[in-house]
Amino acid sequence: MKTLKAIGALLLLAAMVPAAAQERTTMGVQYQYGLPMGGFKNSLIKDGSPRGASIDIQYAINPQWRIGGALGYQDFYQKNPRQTYKMSDGSDISAVVTNSVQSTALMAKGSFLPLGADSSRLQPYITLGVGANMVQYSQLLGEFGSSDDVWIRMAAQGGAGIQYALGAKGQTALTLGAVYNYMPLNQAGIKNINNLAVQAGVRFILRNNGRGGRSNGDVWQQRRPNHYDRGW
């Protein structure tokens, strides 16, 4: 339900963007591969996760800076080989222990493009984000659940990457990058779920064709692309 609310907030944010500003508003969609780091990797889940994605909406406030919001999701899973565990009451339990962690993070996000309004199709970028992270954690002993919890904690991230504008209009760009997610937890013996997300995706300009925004033709006729005007 919280995820739905977060998606709703992003939709509302997009809807509130004035039509004239939509030329400078972009939406990014990234597939991401999550790699547990540090204590998360050493004590709970060491396997990388191919089950992740993120979306963001950003507004270009000047040629070098964009601000907006982002929603990211990653599903971590680890099945451990059967092992015998000594319990505090003296009993021994042999079980295949499975740990499952889902992270859904909603963040305010800022991006910096060092090349600014440069017309190059290839643009490096740096991102910073801070917000809230909903962590769902479950642990199974065999088919029997021993833990099933949900917590909300702060989260922050920093990342870098490159984007490459496609086509003559340059309305879409491919993106490739990585973000380090700092996600403290301090629950159930889990200090954090810090991870590195390698991302690949696309970025679109949110347009408002025929409703007051600049027309496709206007952009098309520009002889020299200006990425700032297009939200890049």
């Binding site: 995820t3 998606i7 939709l11 997009a14 939509q22 939406m27 969609v29 089950r51 992740g52 994605a53 979306i55 929603l71 999701y73 599903d75 899973y77 099945k79 059967r82 015998t84 319990m87 505090s88 009451d89 003296g90 009993s91 021994d92 339990i93 042999s94 079980a95 295949v96 499975t98 499952s100 889902q102 479950s138 199974l140 002993l141 065999g142 088919e143 029997f144 659940g145 021993s146 679109f204 949110l206 347009r207 408002n208 064709n209």
Partner: protein, 210 residues
């Protein structure tokens, strides 16, 4: 493509990704679904016992009711346990030959769902088989106090193996369960996997030997 369409497409993508969450239970095979729990009376000296006898039937416990049964799977578990005891140096004798240890195998059936606390099971002995002078059934004064409050969600029945101290029953004036093993999860009625399941109980109970 209009922005609203893009947004709906993205929303659908997020739902799709959420649906891709790996289901932990679906990724377990039958063997992996089972858990094996063993416990011992810390005061028992397992090397001090020489002989054992094992009940010919499995006691099926359903709530407060119990009855004896012997399905092919039950027989497989009894045979496997007998072989495991002998591999640990104990000698099987008949019940009338004053065995040091009695072995009772029980199938616990729970018809209700919910959370079952491990202390619900304190070991079981059949008074009609081992003698009625020392109480019977769940708990009683012979119940070992070694269970904690750990809880597990019960989805189906479990198999319980109890080793009872018959050698010191008169001295102690009670029948004492000195070792208990439980198997819970999927595939409990599978005769072919009975030996490996029983083997796991003994593997994690290295102290259980003559």
């Amino acid at each position: 493509m209009k922005p609203i369409r893009i947004l709906f497409a993205l929303m659908a993508s997020v739902f799709l990704v959420q649906g891709c969450k790996k289901d932990p239970i679906k990724n377990l095979d039958t063997e992996e679904r089972r858990i094996y729990i063993t416990n011992q009376d810390e005061t028992a000296n397992f090397a001090s016992y020489n002989t054992f006898s094992i009940a010919e039937n499995v006691v099926v416990v359903d709530g407060n009711n119990s009855q004896q049964q012997l399905t092919p799977a039950d027989q497989a578990y009894l045979d496997a346990f007998r072989a495991a005891m002998e591999s640990r140096g104990y000698t099987q004798v008949s019940k009338t030959a004053s065995p040091d240890l009695g072995v009772q195998v029980s199938r616990i059936i729970r018809t209700s769902t919910g959370i079952m606390s491990v202390p619900d099971y304190f070991g079981y002995w059949d008074p009609f088989y081992w003698g009625s002078g020392f109480g019977s059934g769940f708990g009683g004064w012979g119940a070992p106090p070694f269970w904690s409050t750990t809880t597990y969600q019960v989805r189906e029945g479990m198999l319980a193996f109890d080793i009872i101290d018959l050698k010191n029953a008169t001295t102690n004036n009670n029948l004492k369960v000195i070792w208990n093993g439980m198997i819970r999860g999927a595939g409990l009625g599978n005769a072919s996997s009975a030996p490996s399941q029983v083997s796991q109980l003994f593997e994690q109970s290295a102290y259980l030997r003559k």
